[in-house]
Structures are given as structure tokens and as C-alpha cells.
């Protein structure tokens, strides 16, 4: 089976929103979260999707 989409990383400013599993990046501020997400997007060749103001996921499409 070939996965067409996959969550490559999770970036959040609220550690309570995520549990273990996958790559999780916890940031202090929204600005830091944007910066980390931008870097991860470029490195992982994925797209940064916002699920809420404090939670981004990087998805490989």
C-alpha cells in the first residue's frame, strides 16, 4: 500500500494539544511557530496547514 498523504511534523504553542507520536515541535510564541513551520515546509517538501491558531501540521501531498 502506498500512502498518498502523510503528516510529517506537528508544530504547536500549546503542548496540551498534542500527544506523543510523530515529530512534534513545541514553540514559545506564534512567531517562533511560523518560523519553524516555514523551515520545516522547505526542508520536508510539505505544506504547512493551520488547524488552529496554535497548531500547524506539515503534510506531504
Amino acid at each position: 500500500m502506498q500512502l498518498e498523504k502523510a503528516i510529517l511534523a506537528t508544530i504547536t504553542t500549546n503542548a496540551n494539544k498534542v500527544t506523543a507520536g510523530g515529530s512534534i515541535f513545541i514553540c514559545e510564541t506564534k512567531e517562533e511557530m511560523d518560523k519553524v513551520a516555514a523551515n520545516l515546509e522547505a526542508i520536508l517538501d510539505g505544506i504547512s496547514h493551520a488547524l488552529s491558531d496554535e497548531l500547524y501540521i506539515i503534510v506531504k501531498h
Binding site: D34, E41, A42, D45, I47, H49, H61
Partner: protein
């Protein structure tokens, strides 16, 4: 030299010219200049030869010679495979790929045009042998008209109404008019999209067209042609900056989101209007038996 020499020569020349006319390198830049063209011109010459020789063969009651046409058919099917393989290989290197449906359409066109060459060579040689060179010239003009007709399929402008629409964000959701396109999380990426993005709404003119423009291959063809003609604001490793088309499930309209380097609205609408309607994408639900039942 015998009585067949000039008719055969006439058929071969007209057939080859027909192939040259049909071998138009346009904005798609395919076949690429010179080498790609030589392959197709050589095959066109062979096709013209086969078509021309078939008529004298029948007149001499050499009916088995016709079987050569079946060999030609299998050879031209190979042309189709060759085109499909080449274009599929190249497609992975495109910033906005053509898609398999578009590639299949191009491959079918290359095969069918060789048959048109055989047909042209055959009827012009026949006219020359049965009547004379003047009638053959008239038949050539008729063949040219037929070729032009077969070459030009319909375009999107014939089947949809195209209008420019605003690109906007609701939270992280990107919209073209009221059609949701995708979720863009990063504010920096959202700014780029607002700066470079353009949106268009394609409204189907009939119920049948809804299915045609819903076809994923047809949608990819639109994105590819627009990106080729207007440039694209993206690079490898920037998957967020990808042109996309999404469908309004309520009424079958599609929202086209593009990132052109040339942000000329009129030009973009003309390009979308000129995108060919792919044969493989055409659906006619109104022609089904169920649709005709009261």
C-alpha cells in the same frame, strides 16, 4: 518510369506536405524543434508512400499488398506508445505537469495524423489515376479541408463561461470566489498567494459539461497550459505554491487558482478559453438511455 510513377509521386508529396501542415509546434513546444520533427516527418513520408502505393497495387490486382497497411497500422500504434512514454518521462520534470489524460490525447493525435496522411495520399493518387492531375489537385484541396477539420477539436471557451474572481482567505482557508481551494497555514505564504495569485471561475454552459470539467485530467491540462503560457510563480520544494482547481459540488462550477508570472487577466482568460477539451474527458450524460426515459 511507368504510368504509376507520377500519380505515386504526387500522392507521396501531397501526403508528406499534409504531415508538415499537421506538425505544428505551438506554445506546447512539442515536438521540440528539429530532431523531434524529423522523426515525425520521416514517419509521415512512409505513411504517404504506403497510401500512394496501395491504389496501383489494387489496380494491378495485387490484393495481398493491402496487408502492408495492417503492418503500417501496428507501426503507427508504436508511434503512439513512443509519444506516451516520452511525454510521461518528461512530465515528472515539469513544474506543473501535463497529466496522463493530456499525454494520452497528444499520443492519440500523433497516431491518428499518420492515418490521415495515408488517407490523403490514397485519395489523391486514386484521383490522379482515375481522372487526371487537375481533379487530383481539387481532391487535394478537399483533403486539406478534412484535415483542418480533424485537427481542430473544441476548446474550453466553447463549453464554459470564464470570469475573473477574487482570491481570498478565511482564516487559513484559501478561496476563489466561494470555492474552497486549500489550507495555507503560514502567514508569509498567504501574503505571497495574495500578491501573485489569480482566480477564475469556469461555469459549465450545459449539464454535460459539468462532467467534462470535473475530470481531473482536464483540470490538470488547464493548469499546465496556463502555467506554460503565463509562467508560474513556484519552484521545486515549494508545494504550497501550486496552482489548483477545485469544484463547487452544488452547481458544477470549477474554481481555478493560478500563480502566473504575467498577471494579465485578459491574457489568462484567453489562455483558459483556448485549452483543448480532451477527448478522454468528454462525457455525455444527456445521451444515456436513462436520460431519454420519461
Amino acid at each position: 518510369m511507368n504510368e504509376y510513377t507520377f500519380p505515386i509521386l504526387f500522392g507521396v508529396v501531397i501526403g508528406t506536405i499534409a504531415r508538415i501542415i499537421m506538425l505544428k509546434t505551438d506554445y506546447r513546444q512539442y515536438p521540440t524543434y528539429l530532431h523531434g520533427k524529423i522523426i515525425h516527418l520521416a514517419l509521415g513520408f512512409i505513411a504517404a508512400g504506403l497510401g500512394s502505393v496501395a491504389v496501383p497495387a489494387i489496380m494491378e490486382k495485387e490484393f495481398t499488398a493491402i496487408t502492408f497497411l495492417t503492418i503500417a497500422a501496428s507501426q503507427f500504434r508504436e508511434v503512439r506508445n513512443m509519444e506516451r512514454n516520452t511525454l510521461s518521462e518528461m512530465d515528472s520534470y515539469e513544474l506543473v505537469p501535463r497529466g496522463n489524460t493530456y499525454i494520452e490525447g497528444i499520443a492519440v493525435a500523433f497516431e491518428s495524423r499518420n492515418y490521415l496522411v495515408i488517407f490523403t495520399a490514397l485519395i489523391t493518387t486514386l484521383a490522379y489515376l482515375v481522372w487526371n492531375v487537375y481533379i487530383a489537385v481539387i481532391v487535394t484541396i478537399g483533403a486539406y479541408i478534412i484535415i483542418r477539420k480533424f485537427m481542430s477539436g473544441s476548446t474550453l471557451g466553447d463549453i464554459v463561461d470564464i470570469e475573473h474572481a477574487e482570491v481570498s482567505f478565511e482564516g487559513a482557508g484559501l478561496y476563489v470566489d466561494n470555492i474552497y481551494i486549500m489550507n495555507i497555514g503560514l502567514p508569509a505564504r498567504q501574503k505571497e498567494i495574495m500578491k501573485y495569485g489569480m482566480g477564475f471561475i469556469l461555469t459549465p454552459k450545459t449539464f454535460d459539461v459539468r462532467s467534462t470539467i470535473a475530470n481531473l485530467g482536464q483540470r490538470q491540462a488547464i493548469l499546465h497550459d496556463v502555467s506554460v503560457s503565463l509562467g508560474v510563480f513556484r519552484d521545486s520544494g515549494t508545494p504550497a505554491l501550486v496552482p489548483l482547481i477545485k469544484r463547487d459540488l452544488d452547481d458544477g462550477r470549477i474554481g481555478v487558482f493560478i500563480l502566473p508570472q504575467d498577471k494579465d487577466v485578459e491574457k489568462a482568460m484567453n489562455v483558459i478559453s483556448s485549452v483543448p477539451v480532451l477527448e478522454n474527458a468528454i462525457r455525455m450524460p444527456s445521451e444515456s438511455k436513462a436520460a431519454h426515459k420519461e
